[in-house]
């Protein structure tokens, strides 16, 4: 179940009890294990990250403030990001962010909450057509639950 807008509005008062709909158990990923190396010349995906491309995964992190209210994706970060860097520049995001395309738009918590994301892992460079935001690692068709 996706977090609905209505639920989001209520979420301050009522804790959400939502469950990922995958019948098949998703593989659990950790931010610290996404890449095997980081050098001046760039980062290299961990073997497991590459193996799980195209497969259902779970990943816990922090939901950064959305890039724009109507965007259908948000940025998942390892640690809470305080400011919407996009307001200034998307250049200042941490290097290991994961872009999450949600199943249903409008399911943003907008408060930098710790969340668990379930969806299909996608690797490789992609530019979002609406915002020009470039990502290397994505979770698509995602459902989000507050931790």
């Amino acid at each position: 179940m996706t977090i609905e807008r209505r639920e989001f509005l209520l979420s301050a008062a009522i804790p959400l009890l939502t469950f990922a709909p995958f019948a098949k158990a998703a593989e659990s990923l950790k931010f610290a294990e996404l890449y095997k190396s980081r050098t001046v010349m760039g980062m290299a995906f961990a073997d497991r990250t590459l193996q799980l491309a195209g497969k259902p995964v779970d990943l816990a992190g922090y939901m950064a403030p959305p890039l724009k209210p109507e965007a259908n994706f948000f940025v998942l970060t390892r640690t809470p990001v305080s400011v919407c860097p996009f307001c200034d520049s998307d250049a200042d995001w941490p290097a290991d962010i994961v872009v999450v395309y949600v199943k249903k738009a409008g399911s943003f918590l907008q408060d930098g909450s710790a969340v668990s994301v379930s969806g299909v892992l996608q690797t490789g460079s992609k530019t979002d057509t609406d915002t020009g935001f470039v990502s290397q690692l994505r979770i698509i068709d995602a459902v989000v639950k507050r931790l």
Partner: protein
Amino acid sequence: MKKIHSFARFAATSLALGLTLAGHSSVFAQAIFPIDRAAILAGSKFDFKVEFDRVVDAAKTRISINGIDAAKVLGAEPQFIFNEDGKKVSSFVLPGVMLDKPGSYDVVAVSGNARMQVTWEVYATGPRKAKNVILFIGDGMTVANRTAARILSKGIKEGKYLGRLSFDDMSNMALVGTSGVDSIITDSANSMSAYTTGHKTSVNALGVYVSRAKDNLAHPKVETITELIKRKTNMAVGIVSDAEVEDATPAGMVAHTRRRADKDIIAEQLFFSRADVIMGGGSAYFLPQTTPGSKRKDTNNLIDLFKLDDYAFASTDKEMKQAAANPKTRKLLGLFHPENMDGALDRHFLKKGTVPQFPEQPDLADMTRTAIEVLSRNPNGFVLMVEAGLIDKFNHPLDWERSVYDTIMLSNAVQVAKDFAAKNNDTFIMVTPDHTHGASIVGTIDDNKPGTEMRNKVGVYADAGYPNYPKANKDGYPEKVDVSKRLAFFYGNTPDYYETFQPKMNDPFVPAIKLTKDGPYVANPAYKDVPGAVLRTGILPQSADTGTHTADDGVLSAMGPGSERIHGFMDNTEIFRAMADSLGLAANANSTKMVKASKVVKPVTAAK
């Protein structure tokens, strides 16, 4: 938690204020760039722009310089923009013009009953005095940073220091005013821009006047020292920083953009600048977007472009030294970190920050030595800018120990330059902050004082006594920073934060965080339970995530040929003038012939 610098807020505030003040007749202000009282180096290039607050008829518009048609004086026809950015306002632009003759220039633009006037001073220089110029920027270096660095590095006994920082004994000194066009508080972009172009600009802007243009890259440009050197001389240029090489201060050497955040574009501007040595962090903006970790929005690999252009490339301390050891190396690109490099305290002692991931980052003193070694192979001399960028990066989060260790590192880097200069005494060296922070040393903190309340362990006046840092090692650093009696160094302009009265031995301090997107910055609860921590309510607006820059003057130290201009109070634009003068960049300007006033002022003709 990752700290994100957001300057967008400041810009939004000043814009709102500008509109309020200008709002009496029209929402659009009118302006001439360069602005009133601009001091312009003779023969330096600038974009001349006139912005009317309404739509005007080009045939009925007169733009004159000392009474003569501007087109005639500047040798080019103005481009007429009828509706700038689709708005009901007209502008005239003359790109890349220059004035060769020193003197005072009255610039008047008239159209109907709209009238504007500014006055420029065009100045010449004396003959060349210096072979080389080395400009050290201690970013955000405040007097307290300098004093604390001297205490920790050299020691102090019975009121007398046991030694001096390398720039303490330079022959000349000045107070530098750092304010910009839009605000008394500057950022590193517009303050560096003043040093490198001699023109004032505004927060977030580099190498441009901030006009009303929508496009960041369409604002009126002024020529940087790098462009002047490359256009007028055969000298070499070096740009060294321990921040990202696209960060505001190194960017100021080459960039033209209204927004310092355009780092991918600034990386390209670094390439096109033909600067001979470029070293620092920030490789992420050089990598094609297809490479994980890239922060570019295209598939250009700038490192490959530099290599194709005969630059040696280094990504570690060892590679840097190897490249410099090759006597044929005349051009060098060194990128040692995808983002900002780590500071001296982390690299040499604590091994925190990203040091475990990037253990082979060079020290700023070694980067300075390498840059000088490569640049001095050019027999025509060089201009080198070296930034200790992390002094500011650590003053912001109130992490004074880290900022002071980096101030000691700056002293080591300056010593390298002084040793080089001592050989021929033909190098003009300046060491200066670009702006200051609200920091002061107020006494000491003694853990052995009775009680648990940390503030009662702060000693002031006679109770302060002296701290017990161990004697510094051969590189000037005390090897222990968490001593039992340490400096009480506090910042005045802060957000809410937990004061722990002790150094942050793990990762750098993050004083405040935001819990909701539109909420205020609050004291970071991660430090709440540090023994003795107290909540210190800030005095900054709750939109401030860290300590902020101050308008207090910076202290500049200088030596060598050209340093005689450095004294008293100086505007930051005069630092550019001092460099230009020492290098004789406008020594041939004819000072006898002035542009004569004439009664005939022709209408401006619009470019087709």
